[in-house]
């Protein structure tokens, strides 16, 4: 083969490292990433292994131990590090498990609504024409139905359980993703690289999946991280008005909605899970933020 070697190579140093690895490495260099990941990891480990470390009997109802404060306060005692709730169950353990459940609901529903919404948005934006008009008007309709009404209807009809709750959240959440994904797709579809892909024979499906999706989804995904929190909050609100996950399964919503009435005599029932939630979501979000910044830097070639 004819080798034309006289061409000067660009300033971009050739690194044999995948893009994602580079983003991760860059992100890892920032201190807040380390702190946030450590925190998040610790919380994850705690929720996973907490039940084995902490005496399991603490999860049992023991009415005699109700409203014990955290151990650093007067009257607190082991094994209840962060005190007990209104039925004498260990609050730390319940909060951890509750957090995990709420978190699972949040993450699963955000992933699903993200996938559904973005798929519809990309398809709609890419196809254009009538497909677009119809899909977008459906989106508008769905978006105009208040979540609470939807929730009461669906959860009322089919007893609240994790699946129906996720279903409600996904149903109410996908339209925003669809709209955003569609508008970015519209812009992206105009770009030459989409044409280039068609020239080399890529099918529409391939273009949507391999080209448009990877270039538009990451920024939307970072917004989705914010939404995990909102979904957990919705779950809490459902719990608050009694259409959430059923007790005794602890979730963030059931714990704090059960706890608010004890704010005066046992504030920790409300505060402890709230703080744990804030910690985990805050660190997750921080991770998302740093990753986003790193991605931008890498893609802009600044790093």
């Amino acid at each position: 083969m004819a080798i034309i070697s006289s061409i000067p190579q660009s300033s971009a140093p050739a690194r044999s490292q995948s893009v994602n690895a580079r983003i991760l490495r860059l992100a890892w260099r920032s201190p807040e990433m380390k702190v946030a990941s450590a925190l998040f990891l610790a919380l994850c480990l705690l929720t996973l292994f907490g039940p084995f470390i902490i005496d399991a009997s603490a999860t049992k109802i023991s009415v005699a131990d109700k409203f014990l404060p955290p151990i650093f306060m007067d009257g607190g005692r082991l094994p209840y590090f962060l005190g007990t709730d209104q039925l004498g169950r260990d609050l730390l353990l319940r909060s951890l498990v509750g957090l995990r459940n709420a978190f699972l609901i949040g993450v699963v529903s955000v992933i699903l609504m993200f996938a559904l919404g973005c798929a519809i948005g990309i398809f709609s934006g890419y196809r254009g024409g009538w497909t677009d008009v119809v899909l977008m008007r459906i989106t508008d309709i769905q978006m105009s139905i208040p979540v609470i009404i939807l929730a009461i209807t669906i959860l009322g009809m089919s007893r609240p359980n994790p699946f129906t709750i996720v279903a409600v959240l996904v149903l109410s959440g996908w339209p925003i993703y669809a709209r955003v994904a569609r508008s970015v797709t519209l812009a992206e579809r105009q770009k030459e690289y989409v044409r280039a892909a068609r020239i080399i024979g890529a099918s529409d499906l391939r273009i949507m999946i391999r080209h448009i999706a990877p270039s538009i989804l990451p920024p939307i995904a970072f917004v989705a991280v914010l939404d995990v929190a909102r979904m957990m909050i919705f779950e809490a609100i459902f719990g608050f008005i009694g259409i959430g996950i059923q007790p005794p399964t602890p979730t963030f919503g059931t714990i704090i909605s059960g706890g608010t009435q004890y704010l005066l005599n046992a504030w920790w029932i409300t505060i402890v899970p709230g703080c744990l939630l804030a910690l985990s979501l805050g660190s997750l979000n921080l991770i998302g933020g740093v990753l986003e910044r790193s991605r931008n830097l890498v893609l802009q070639g600044a790093a």
Binding site: I61, K66, F67, Q86, R159, G242, G258, L264
Partner: protein, 487 residues
């Protein structure tokens, strides 16, 4: 004069001020400010049958079908008209008309004979039941003005009574009442009552704490306890006419077998339930509240006894609960105190005995929809948590709707023995005879067949500003503020 009192109420009134148009507890409380009754019935635990004078000064039994009341003189309605026998006649005949929605409260139709302006006789002869049935009811039937009764529209729009306060206006969720100058016991010291409807218990408490409200009701027990300690506030705790029950759906398996029902009853440690319910409950071993006529501490009321549970389960063919279908326990949140908490507790206790049980907590509207049996006689779920409150010491208002197979609104029980016993006490002609039948036959029978279990009697918890003195609370809700002061 001590200004305006803001009452953070847990409920509010209906769209009609006609007392015969509804059976709503909060509205009865509101009517307590506005209307007088012939007599007062404090429904104390010590003396549930006690009756005191109000608009009537004396009352007596003339014969089996006739009661006579002597009326107080010099009483005026809020619109300035004097109170006379004609008003009593109009009120009683109107309210007892079975067309009126609230006529369920009243034993049946009645004729009122006006003897003179200040003497009336209630006569039930024509309708074939003893007049004694009005004995307690007279303490709860608000006395309306004859002119209003003649014109139902005014009745709905502007309540006009002889009570200590008169109605001023309704603004959104707030109702205003003002002290009535010509109240027959003297003008109340509190100039104005603002009835603020605040549905959330926590909100009510926080509002009380920051001084926005002076009085609030339906506290959660912990709120009650911590407010109890709070300087500047004081609390009130009084036994209500309400009991809390778990009803079993008796017309579908597994609870069509009384042994399984009893097995559940024996598996529940009511002492623990009470520990959770705390101040909001009082132990009682009877299907009616201690402030009701006929209450007794029923012998052999099913107690916590896991061994019996196991024995009954084994006897019924489900040793250790094996083979039982999944049992759904339906309860509400945000309506009664602690339902979710003790629901969890009871679920755990039953699981411990091997019952395959699952808890469903519903918001009140959904719960209420699931509560009653359907037209086909069956209802959803298997165990239903519900309370039953009535504004009278009359026990039949609890027993017949719940346990007589003609109604059996929730549990759907169809037991000829219970029916026979209920009919027997209903037909008793003297108070003593009735009391005996109730206490020795009917109530023990119900406890033994356990179409439902009465968990405990509710206690109403209230808190108020320490500046508020002289309030009297009635067991079914009404509040007497006529002698109260707010300094």
């Amino acid at each position: 004069a001590s200004g305006s009192l803001i009452f953070a109420a847990a409920g509010t009134v209906t769209s009609s001020w006609d007392p015969t148009s509804h059976t709503v507890a909060p509205q009865i409380t509101a009517e307590g400010f506005l209307f007088g009754h012939l007599t007062k019935c404090p429904m104390s635990e010590a003396n549930p049958g006690e009756i005191l004078p109000d608009l009537a000064t004396e009352w007596s039994v003339i014969d089996e079908h006739t009661l006579e009341y002597k009326l107080r003189q010099g009483v005026t309605f809020h619109d300035g008209k004097p109170f006379t026998a004609a008003d009593v006649k109009a009120t009683y005949e109107y309210a007892s008309n079975p067309d009126r929605p609230a006529s369920a409260w009243y034993p049946g139709r009645v004729d009122v004979e006006v003897v003179d302006d200040y003497t009336v006789r209630l006569n039930t002869k024509q309708y074939g039941y003893p007049a004694i049935n009005f004995w307690y009811v007279s303490s709860f039937l608000p006395i309306l003005s004859a002119a209003d009764v003649a014109n139902p529209d005014t009745l709905k729009q502007k309540p006009n009574g002889t009570g200590p306060f008169r109605y001023v206006e309704t603004v959104g969720d707030q109702i205003k009442f003002a002290a009535f100058d010509k109240f027959h016991e003297g003008k109340p010291s509190i100039e104005e009552i603002v009835w603020a409807y605040v549905p959330d218990a926590n909100t009510r408490v926080l509002g009380l704490l920051n001084g926005q409200y002076h009085l609030t009701e339906r506290l959660e027990p912990e709120q009650y306890l911590s407010l109890h300690k709070e300087a500047g506030l004081k609390t009130d705790r009084s036994l209500s006419s309400e009991n809390k029950y778990l009803h079993f759906r008796c017309n579908k398996p597994p609870f069509d077998d009384p042994r399984i029902r009893l097995a559940v009853c024996h598996a529940i440690d009511r002492a623990q339930v009470l520990a959770v319910v705390g101040e909001a409950g009082q132990a009682s071993n009877c299907h009616v509240s201690p402030v009701k006529f006929g209450f007794t501490d029923v012998k052999d009321y099913p107690e916590y006894d896991p061994e019996k549970t196991q024995a009954l389960l084994a006897e019924a063919g489900f040793p250790n609960g094996q083979g039982l279908p999944e049992i759904e326990y339906i309860t509400s949140v945000g309506f009664y105190p602690k339902t979710r908490e003790y629901g969890e507790l009871i679920t755990a206790m039953l699981q411990e005995q091997g019952f395959p049980i699952k808890l469903t907590t519903l918001e009140p509207a959904a719960w209420e929809e699931q509560l009653y049996r359907r037209a086909d006689g069956q209802g959803p779920g298997h165990i239903i948590d519900v309370g039953w409150i009535t504004g009278s010491p009359e026990p039949d208002l609890v027993l017949r709707p719940n346990y007589h197979s003609k109604f059996a609104l929730i549990n759907g029980v169809n037991d000829p023995e219970i029916d026979a016993s209920l009919d027997k006490e209903h037909g008793a002609t003297s108070t003593e005879e009735r009391l005996k039948i109730l206490q020795e036959e009917t109530l023990p029978l119900i406890a033994g067949k356990a179409p439902s279990i009465s968990l405990f009697s509710s206690v109403f918890l209230r808190a108020m500003s320490a500046k508020l003195d002289g309030v009297t609370f009635y067991p079914n809700g009404p509040i007497d503020l006529s002698k109260a002061t707010l300094s």
